[in-house]
């Protein structure tokens, strides 16, 4: 890493638009290819953070290059185009049947393999703190372990100095300022930033001169018998929809009657949430 250039990788995930959740009950994995995709909102924030760092670096003559990295089925290329439309310099899709069904342990392994092999001079990796689908908040720190880099989570503000990164964050009611040397990894907290909208010129340009690399298992030199689903230490037994299982208590009748019943039977829950006592009456 030269003194005045910095390579940033932003990990992006394509998640299904929630209006459809096609589940493959045999393998316990999501049929992602059937659902319309969108850029995970947390990834979007990470990208925004990266783009702002890029802009902040410019007055000092610091060249910051932002790569959007994603692992997913072929249709995930769409979010890379979206990332480039927003301002990323370049996008990388890691895709291969062998990668399907990876849990966070395997996902971080694959992402780390790409970074070490193809972009070893990366100075900073940005991720969302947790995705809207699996919501584990694990890939970021696990990727950092894979790379043996320090990592800070839930950043609400990040500031680059020449060689370090300063992060402000609010965790468990503690407001903290932390600093680490680069290279490092940061995950961005939800609500930390308001992401920009993509301009249509950006979209047109992203497709006119595509800057997407597609990398498969062979190029990553993964083992011949690599199988993310089998190699993942965790296994999904089954998935169910709580809606289907919920036992609702149904109250019918005149408004006054049902309201009285509500307070008689559930008044404690309500008052406890309010933090106030309610008269029995």
């Amino acid at each position: 890493m030269e003194n005045n250039t910095l390579d940033i990788i932003v990990c992006i995930k394509q998640v299904p638009m929630v209006s459809e959740l096609p589940w493959n009950s045999k393998t316990g994995t999501l049929k992602r290819e059937l659902a319309q995709g969108m850029m995970d909102p947390a990834s979007r924030l990470a990208l925004e953070a990266g783009l702002r760092l890029q802009r902040a670096g410019q007055p000092e003559g610091r060249r910051i290059r932002v790569t959007a990295l994603t692992m997913g089925p072929p249709m995930a290329e769409e979010v890379l185009h979206q990332a480039v439309s927003l301002g990323a310099d370049h996008g990388v899709l890691l895709t291969d049947r062998k990668m399907a069904g990876a849990d966070t342990n395997l996902t971080s392994f694959i992402l780390g393999r790409y970074i070490r092999m193809f972009q070893p001079d990366t100075g900073l990796v940005l991720c969302g703190s947790q995705t809207s689908d699996s919501e584990t908040a694990q890939v970021g720190p696990q990727l950092a372990c894979e790379l043996d880099w320090p990592a800070i989570g839930w950043a609400s503000d990040i500031r680059l100095t020449q060689r370090t990164l300063v992060v402000t964050r609010l965790v468990d009611d503690f407001m903290e300022t932390l600093e680490m040397d680069l290279p490092g990894l940061v995950t961005i907290d939800q609500g930390a930033l308001v992401p920009r909208y993509a301009g249509l010129a950006g979209v047109a340009q992203a497709f006119a001169a595509p800057k997407i690399d597609v990398v498969d298992a062979d190029r990553l030199e993964l083992d011949k018998d690599f199988n993310a689903l089998k190699d993942s230490p965790t296994r999904i037994l089954d998935v169910f929809s709580p809606a289907a299982q919920k036992e609702s208590r149904v109250l019918k009748g005149a408004a006054k009657t049902v309201v009285d019943k509500l307070f008689t039977d559930y008044g404690k829950i309500i008052s406890s949430a309010m933090g106030k006592d309610l008269k029995k009456k």
Binding site: V18, A137, P150, M175, S248, V259
Partner: protein, 335 residues
């Protein structure tokens, strides 16, 4: 006293930041006890810090058979990598069967790192834990905002790890007579230096952080009828000390601002109680509220999806019930 484990030990990492407000370690200890009944293992607390004797005895009083402690001035302030390295070292020495950590941000920082470096699996934010007939830990966790719940196993890798959502389990009553071993260990000499430097840390409990942190949320949908009628939800919110959210059609109709949108593209809420008035329950909306602990839905339509997701489904006119609840609260709230 043997320091080595029986191979069936269930460890619970002591998360004492923000204790007394944060009771998650005690909650997990209670569940660990129940799991240990099935596996025959010991429940062990793990505590790192400086002058942490108080927590040690607290954990024993709340269910731990044993507590491993590393107490050292260098551990006075929390360091992500330091605590991670300590837990990893301990786990490699002692081979616990299960490690459970509260899904606070502290826990969610340490757990993934430990799992990765022990090359084992980790399930995040579990809302239940069980032991199956093969003595394996069944990890039950939500995804898609709680629209889907998965049951997960770690078939081969050990230890089996999970983070547990605070508030999921109930702590056992404090038992002064409980007996337990305290095993004090030294700080490893080869502990790597902490690469993350904390230059400032300030306890700053935030009163309200808006709808996403609110304990009570009221949402209104089309069924409220009009902007004027929707406004009544704010009166109810005032009495409940709640925040008001809305569905997309309501925001589009201009009845309330975009900041109130609860949905996949809006805010995610996790209240203790959710009151939902006149909401049909389109999945884009419900995806963002399934983490609510207790849902009361009011709708004229008994088959609306929102009614099926509710703990209490009130089949009645949303406006009338809203007014009814407002009247009732005015009478009931103690001055």
């Amino acid at each position: 006293m043997s320091k080595k484990s029986t191979g069936k030990d269930i460890w619970v990492l002591g998360d004492y930041r923000n204790y007394f407000k944060n009771r998650v370690t005690l909650q997990i200890l209670a569940r660990a006890r129940a799991l240990a009944e099935k596996t025959g293992g010991r429940v062990c607390g793990v505590v790192f810090g400086h002058d942490v004797g108080g927590y040690t005895s607290e954990y024993i009083a709340h269910g731990a058979d044993r507590v491993y402690v590393i107490d050292h001035p260098r551990l006075k302030s929390y360091g992500i990598e330091t605590f991670t390295n300590l837990l990893i070292g301990l786990a490699r020495d002692m081979n616990p069967d299960i490690i459970l950590i509260g899904a606070t941000r502290f826990g969610q920082e340490v757990a993934p790192r430990v799992a990765k470096r022990l090359d084992t699996g980790l399930t995040a934010d579990c809302i239940d834990l069980d032991i199956d007939d093969k003595q394996r830990l069944v990890q039950i966790a939500p995804s898609f905002g709680g629209n889907l719940i998965a049951r997960i196993l770690t078939p081969k890798a050990r230890p089996q790890m999970a983070t547990v959502r605070p508030g999921t389990f109930h702590e056992l009553p404090h038992d002064d007579t409980a007996q337990g071993e305290v095993i004090t260990l030294d700080l490893p000499e080869d502990l790597p230096a902490e690469r993350i430097r904390c230059t400032h840390s300030e306890y700053r409990p935030v009163k309200t952080l808006g709808i996403e942190k609110a304990d009570i949320v009221i949402t209104g949908g089309r069924g409220m009828g009009s902007k004027g009628k929707f406004k009544k939800l704010f009166d109810l919110a005032g009495l409940l000390n709640a925040e008001v959210g809305a569905t997309r059609p309501v925001v589009h109709a201009g009845w309330v601002g975009h900041e109130a949108l609860v949905g996949q593209a809006g805010k995610h809420i996790r209240p203790k109680v959710l009151f939902s008035f006149g909401v049909s329950g389109a999945i884009q909306h419900t995806a963002a509220l399934m983490d609510a602990d207790f849902i009361v839905a009011v709708n004229k339509n008994p088959d609306a999806m929102m009614m099926k997701l509710a703990d209490v489904a009130i089949v009645a006119d949303a406006n009338q019930v809203c007014s009814g609840i407002i009247r009732a609260l005015k009478e009931k709230i103690r001055d």
